[in-house]
Symmetry: C2
């Protein structure tokens, strides 16, 4: 956390950095400088002239030593909820990191999302906002791909979707939809994972081939 330059902290930028560990999502927290047994999201006060996006990126880099594979603002939070800083408003960013390449620096560590310690109220709201954003933009943005390493098997991809959607998917349907979407490219590599037939490796490759949706979707029916 960069120290705020003066008493009049204007606002902060906070990062909700997410990865997938095993069968659950995890969030990166940092130990408080003063009360060492308390945790909070990584945050900082932007330097004058720094853009919001840049401040979020630098917050993430300070925590992980590298940039997330995906970063997106999820909104401004304030509304009376307490924050480690004195800022009235904090701008939250969601960042995605493949677990394989994510080595937190000292005093940062991953917490399973179902097992978070108590957080400052404003940051608790950010975590909720982040999971909501994750769910709702699963089919608008390559969320699952950004949580996986650059190359992956289709089973891994399916497991990631199952994790994010919170339900099991049928293999044949999943692959059919994936093929129709023209989103992955097979590599000339296979990976043998102990037992069973080796799986082909793929990589994410967004492409041409758009096809507009057909009907209207009244999806807000299904909350």
């Amino acid at each position: 956390m960069r120290e705020r330059p003066s008493k009049t902290a204007l606002y902060t930028v906070d990062a909700v950095l997410v990865t997938a560990i095993g069968n659950e999502l995890a969030i990166l927290l940092v130990r408080n400088a003063s009360e060492r047994e308390r945790w909070s999201l990584p945050w900082q006060t932007p330097q004058t002239g720094e853009t919001l996006d840049a401040a979020a990126a630098s917050t993430a880099e300070e925590a992980l030593g590298e940039s997330p594979t995906w970063m997106e603002q999820i909104g401004a939070f304030g509304d009376g909820k307490r924050h480690p800083s004195e800022a009235e408003v904090s701008v939250a960013y969601l960042g995605l990191v493949p677990h394989e390449t994510a080595a937190p620096r000292a005093s940062y560590s991953w917490f399973q999302i179902g097992d978070l310690p108590s957080l400052p109220p404003r940051q608790r709201a950010m975590v909720e906002g982040a999971t909501k954003t994750l769910q709702s933009s699963l089919d608008q943005a390559p969320i699952a791909f950004r949580l996986l390493p650059a190359t992956f098997t289709l089973s891994e991809l399916q497991q990631m979707y199952e994790l994010l959607m919170g339900k099991r998917l049928h293999k044949a349907s999943f692959r059919r939809a994936l093929q129709a979407a023209w989103l992955v490219e097979p590599m000339d590599e296979w990976r043998s994972e102990g037992r069973g037939r080796p799986a082909q490796l793929f990589r994410y490759l967004p492409k041409k081939k758009r096809r507009p949706h057909r009907g209207v979707r009244f999806d807000f029916l299904y909350p």
Copy 2:
């Protein structure tokens, strides 16, 4: 616009108020106090202790004399773009208003979205963000319904969807999807609009009857 209390304006809350006029969306702008031929989005500096949502609602009420039928934060904007205030960051809200009940106060007026005057750069970005949010949450939230009066015909509803989606829809498909979604309730009223058979009036009525989605959606394929 409420005057900012001191020179150190922390941040502002800006409102992108949208309505549908005829066959196009329109946005509410306010004439600048000093340069009367320039326009900007309604904004204000929140009073200390006021929540963001409350500040946005009060900005809208000051402009229209009433609350929008839908209001949602669309994010924080800063990133070096200029703003009428000296604040480094502004939090933008999207508000929806049915045109029938929207009477702007003095020095406010509606501008067709295709024919906006030049705006402060930060607010220009907000308008773009608002239209993006409109598009992307069309099937997550009752956007179209919030732009229509409380009671409407199915043809009006379809026209609103066509306007928001920017394409024509087939009547039978539209109504089939609407019925499946269980979102409107027929009233015992009909409205005769000049020529042709009178149309039954409906009202928005979200209900039970959920049905989970079936497959995965790789919709980000189609930008």
